[in-house]
């Protein structure tokens, strides 16, 4: 073991970065300990090294640091955290250090927080349906075990309520298998984190969860580490211990802002909206850590939450996220204003893995057709509504008016449900058929004749059904 050398030559401090001169033999990506006069030790990581200097990002921020009197040590290895089953039921800070008063978990199992890229050959294609109990998700944007499905939200909308409902209801069903939730908060307010903790506690699953908090008052640079720490633990639990892990990351927009901050203090050439050109690759290094592996029982399902600045889905953060994740759940202001919970937008929401996780043997044979027909018919409703706004309802054809009725029913009965309401997939699909049966049979062109015959509810019977 080489002797650790302390360096005292800081040449510059800029934003979260410090520049150290006169260093020898420092590795790229190595962990750095920084001691100022007090007893506190800050941690950092080298971003750039050359023959006699190193650029270090300080996770705790640089406030209070000076170029004089600092002692910097390079520890010779990348950032690692201990991972162990005992970390369930605990609360950690954004760097993975316990903040619940209990001691550090004792284990020799240290893992590099950056992980290693998964070999695409070793992945198992996810096909197991997770019932979330929410019709808009189960019926039309089915969540699959091992999927990465973000919630695109915006300020003021109930994304946390939805994420908590999913975490709660998905767990109830999988009582037979070990299921855990890992919650990583980046730059969010304390009350929001509290809400999650309480909600996990109420459903009695807090003891099976691990929580990583880098709250709004923590140094912004720490947020770059938090999701990686959480996912490193998730990988251990899923692929070494065989658990099914749901990782909730909130709020990815804050994460990206920290990355932008770091990039700009390094003087990098910005790409869109000042975000660095490698934002896509950086986000991929987080999101791609979801999935299943051949020969392993467990899985990592990711549900990142992000807020779209001014509800703009083409903003770089939601845009690049959507290119990496396997679909997205988009919350819509218009539905929210109508008082519909969950306000999950019908059309822009999508689950890419749905096609292989539904149908016979997974959910029900007619599932794919019902979903496709609901999407197509609801798209038509949107067109007719746009028209109605111009010509008024009286000018619409009778068929168009039937569509409008379908649209309202779809939003108020199918999409809408209570935050405690847990619908089975059967209930969701039956409800879907009840909605579709409001339309004349010949409008249902996405459905095969056989299923149409079997499930379509003619108007005479419908009256009774609804009651």
């Amino acid at each position: 073991m080489a002797v650790e050398i302390e360096y005292t030559c800081l040449s510059e401090i800029s934003g979260p970065l410090i520049f150290v001169r006169g260093v020898r033999g420092v590795g790229f990506g190595e962990i750095v300990e920084i001691r100022d006069g007090s007893s506190a030790v800050r941690t950092g990581q080298t971003l750039e090294v050359d023959e006699d200097s190193a650029v270090v990002q300080v996770f705790e921020g640089t406030s209070g640091l000076s170029v004089e009197g600092m002692r910097v040590t390079f520890v010779g290895r990348p950032l690692e955290i201990p991972v162990d089953r005992d970390m369930l039921g605990r609360v950690f800070d954004g760097l993975g250090r316990p903040i619940d008063g209990a001691p550090q978990v004792i284990t020799d199992n240290l893992k590099d927080i950056n992980g290693l890229p998964v070999n695409p050959w070793s992945r198992e294609y996810p096909r197991d349906f997770i019932q979330t109990g929410i019709s808009a998700i189960d019926g039309m944007n089915t969540l699959i075990r091992g999927q990465k499905l973000p919630i695109f939200s915006a300020s003021g909308m109930p994304h946390n309520l939805i994420a908590a409902q999913i975490a709660r209801q998905a767990m109830i069903l999988s009582a037979k298998e070990e299921f855990t939730v890992i919650f990583a908060a980046m730059g969010v307010k304390f009350d929001m984190a509290r809400f999650f903790i309480d909600s996990l506690e109420e459903s009695g699953v807090l003891t099976h969860s691990a929580i990583f908090l880098s709250l709004a008052d923590a140094p912004s640079i720490e947020r770059l580490i938090t999701p990686r720490v959480a996912l490193t633990l998730a990988e251990h639990l899923a692929f070494d211990e065989g658990m099914h892990v749901l990782v909730i990351l909130t709020d990815m927009t804050n994460y990206c802002e920290s990355l932008r901050e770091l990039s700009s203090s390094r003087g990098e050439i910005p790409s869109r909206k000042g975000y660095p050109g490698y934002l896509y690759s950086d986000l991929a290094s987080i999101y791609e850590r979801a999935g299943r592996l051949k020969g392993h029982r467990g899985s990592i399902t990711q549900m990142p939450i992000l807020t779209m600045p001014s509800d703009d889905i083409s903003h770089p953060v939601p845009d690049l996220t959507g290119y990496i994740t396997e679909g997205q759940i988009v919350l819509e202001r218009e539905l929210f204003n109508k008082g519909i919970y969950p306000p999950i937008a019908g059309l822009p929401s999508l689950s890419r893995l749905m096609k292989d996780g539904i149908g016979e043997g997974h959910t029900r044979k007619d599932h794919a057709e019902v979903a496709a027909q609901l999407f197509a018919s609801y798209a038509k409703v949107k067109r007719i509504r746009a028209l109605e706004a111009i010509v008024g309802e009286e000018e619409l054809s009778s068929l168009d008016r039937v569509y409008l009725k379908f649209g309202t029913a779809f939003e108020e009965e199918f999409l809408s449900q209570g935050p405690e309401e847990n619908r089975s997939i059967e209930q969701t699909l039956d409800l879907g058929w009840r909605m579709l049966s409001l339309l004349p049979q010949e409008e249902l062109y996405r459905i095969c004749a056989e299923d149409l015959h079997k499930f379509y509810i003619p108007s005479k019977e419908r009256g009774e059904c609804q009651r």
Partner: protein
């Protein structure tokens, strides 16, 4: 072999000194793990290397060694059905050595060195040979006969060739007496990825690449040897379209490049292709497919090189006389890798941070497509189909704009269609193809009127598009019956022809004959229907005909082998429409 040492590390960009005689794009191995990198700049004794693997822990002072050879791929039997990362490391082999994750510094041969291939020679000693000519054959997979070629640039008199029998790729197979001495050849050899393989001449493409996707084959066809781009925002189905093309297009070989995309999508290809059967020969599709997977979480520089690795493999099979289709998903991620590396080098950026040479690189890549006469005198071709992922779905961004300058087929994906789950969501108003007239002659062998039929249906769609603007303002009912009929006919064409379900056992692939017959059916409806409406028959009566509800289901209920049923349906449709006319005259 030259050695030097690292002087600085900035992400994947490493600067080294002391590497004398090293050339641009040579391979260098960096640090104690011997990470693979490529020389991308030489400046006053300093060599700039982009490292293809994660280089955490690399220190100034670490050793760099290079054998001064350019980055190359190993070409030989065994590529088919294999899956590689961006620098042609075999992913199956890697998983056997280090489990589920890719550990750094791992090095494995790209092809199986132990496997014995049944080789049969096609030339005899004494023959005067030139580069590119066929020496013998190997049955590489049940679908692919691998032709062993004399490497381009080598010529001379054959002095010896192995007898028919089983050989590994490492055994000496033939010797040649050349002007510069004796040349000894094996079944496999290296080729630098950044140099296109030579051919005799380029020809004008004239055969359509049949994809079985109606909107492509009928409306926006591509020729074998052509280039196409599929731009679309997220969720518009780029990858789904690429998958459908890789599955059903009638090329002999598919090279599928997953460049900076999702890991699960490659897994999907890997799990699906061995089980999907090609209708034309009854064999699994994997037996004609080579895969390159450099997913988004794998090192960025290897992503930059992955498309060259893919296209070089494609050229190798083209030179054997095959028709090869390259799917590059997504070229935007490749361009981003280029941007990331150029920004770390401190290049002056052009638009949106992309380097000024983006357009040149894109042009060079697409130019590697084409129908050629190979060095051995056969025809071979490469079709390149590149997905483009414009940020925010905005086609005015640099990658989409430059790509559209270099491709001749543009399949624009439409967000509104995708939202309504109308797949493939290829827009019929924004897409275009320049191959229509090149391949018309081929279609004329099926029907001499093909182009005019196609244009007539296209015009219905364009009329519809124009009328839709009006409908947005006044609603359908305010339009005259004749225009409402156009809307109705167009709606039928959209639902019963353009929209195609790639998961439906029948609809997933539509033969050219079936496409043509469906097209004619719509024209029967349109021609007869418009006459009727002009004569005063109401649209409602036409819609109420019994045959109408069947029209939408023809695509998924009539198999490709049984297209006579469409003719039969067409007759019934005509009769029923005529009966309306009789009613009218009867009154």
């Amino acid at each position: 072999m030259v050695t030097g040492k690292v002087i600085s590390v900035n992400g994947p960009i490493v600067k080294a000194s002391g590497l004398a005689r090293i050339k641009m794009f040579d391979i260098a191995e960096v640090g104690p793990h011997r990470l693979i990198g490529e020389v991308i700049r030489l400046a006053g004794g300093v060599t700039v290397i982009q490292v293809y693997e994660d280089n955490t822990g690399l220190k100034p002072g670490d050793e760099v060694v290079s054998s001064c050879r350019p980055l190359s791929v190993l070409l030989g039997p065994g590529l088919i059905a294999n899956i590689y990362d961006g620098i042609q490391r075999p992913l199956v082999g890697i998983s056997e050595v280090c489990g589920s994750y890719i550990e750094k510094g791992i090095k494995l041969p790209a092809l199986d060195m132990e496997k014995r291939w049944a080789f049969s020679p096609l030339v005899t000693a004494g023959a005067a040979l030139r580069g590119g000519c066929v020496l013998g054959e190997i049955r590489e997979s049940p679908l692919v006969v691998h032709r062993v070629l004399l490497p381009p640039g080598v010529s001379g008199t054959l002095t010896g060739i192995a007898a028919a029998g089983e050989y590994t790729i490492d055994e000496e197979i033939y010797t040649l007496d050349t002007a510069t001495g004796t040349y000894t050849g094996k079944l496999a050899g290296y080729w630098p990825v950044r140099s296109p393989r030579p051919f005799r001449l380029k020809k004008k493409p004239f055969i359509p690449l049949m994809t079985g996707q109606r909107v492509i084959d009928t409306f926006f066809p591509i020729a074998r040897g052509g280039t196409a781009a599929i731009p679309g925002g997220f969720g518009t189905g780029k990858t789904m379209t690429q998958h459908a093309l890789a599955k059903w297009c009638n090329a002999d070989i598919i090279v599928y490049i997953g460049c900076g995309e999702r890991g699960n999508e490659m897994t999907d290809v890997l799990t699906e292709f061995p089980n999907l059967i090609d209708e034309r020969n009854g064999r699994p599709l994997i037996e004609r497919t080579v895969m390159i997977a450099n997913t988004s979480n794998m090192p960025v520089p290897a992503r930059e090189v992955s498309i060259y690795t893919g296209v070089t493999i494609a050229e190798f099979y083209r030179d054997m006389g095959y028709s090869v289709a390259v799917m590059a998903d997504s070229t935007s991620r490749w361009a981003e890798a280029l941007r990331e590396l150029s920004s770390r080098l401190g290049d002056m950026p052009a638009e949106e941070g992309f380097p000024p040479y983006l357009a040149t690189r894109l042009a060079e890549f697409y130019e590697r497509a084409g129908l050629v006469e190979t060095l051995s005198g056969h025809d071979g071709d490469i079709t390149i189909i590149g997905a483009v992922s414009p940020p925010g779905g905005d086609f005015s961004e640099p990658v989409t704009q430059h790509t559209s300058r270099f491709v001749r087929c543009f399949w624009a994906l439409d967000k509104i269609l995708a939202d309504a789950r109308h797949y493939p969501s290829i827009s019929w108003t924004d897409s275009y193809t320049e191959y229509l007239h090149d391949i018309e002659a081929w279609w004329r062998t099926l029907d001499s009127q093909w182009l005019s039929l196609r244009n007539e249906v296209m015009n219905i769609l364009l009329d519809d598009h124009r009328l839709q603007q009006l409908v947005k303002l006044v609603g359908t009912d305010a339009l005259p019956q004749t225009q409402q009929f156009v809307l109705f006919a167009a709606e039928m064409i959209k639902n019963a022809f353009l929209q195609q379900n790639s998961f439906d056992p029948i609809d997933k692939y539509c033969s050219p004959e079936k496409q043509l017959k469906l097209l004619k059916t719509f024209l029967t409806l349109y021609r007869k229907g418009s006459q009727l409406v002009h004569a005063g028959v109401s649209l409602k009566e036409i819609k109420a005909l019994d045959v109408m509800s069947e029209l939408v289901r023809l695509k998924s209920e009539v198999p490709n082998q049984d297209t006579a049923r469409i003719d039969e349906y067409g007759k019934r449709l005509a009769t029923e429409l005529d009966s309306l006319k009789e009613l009218l005259t009867g009154v």
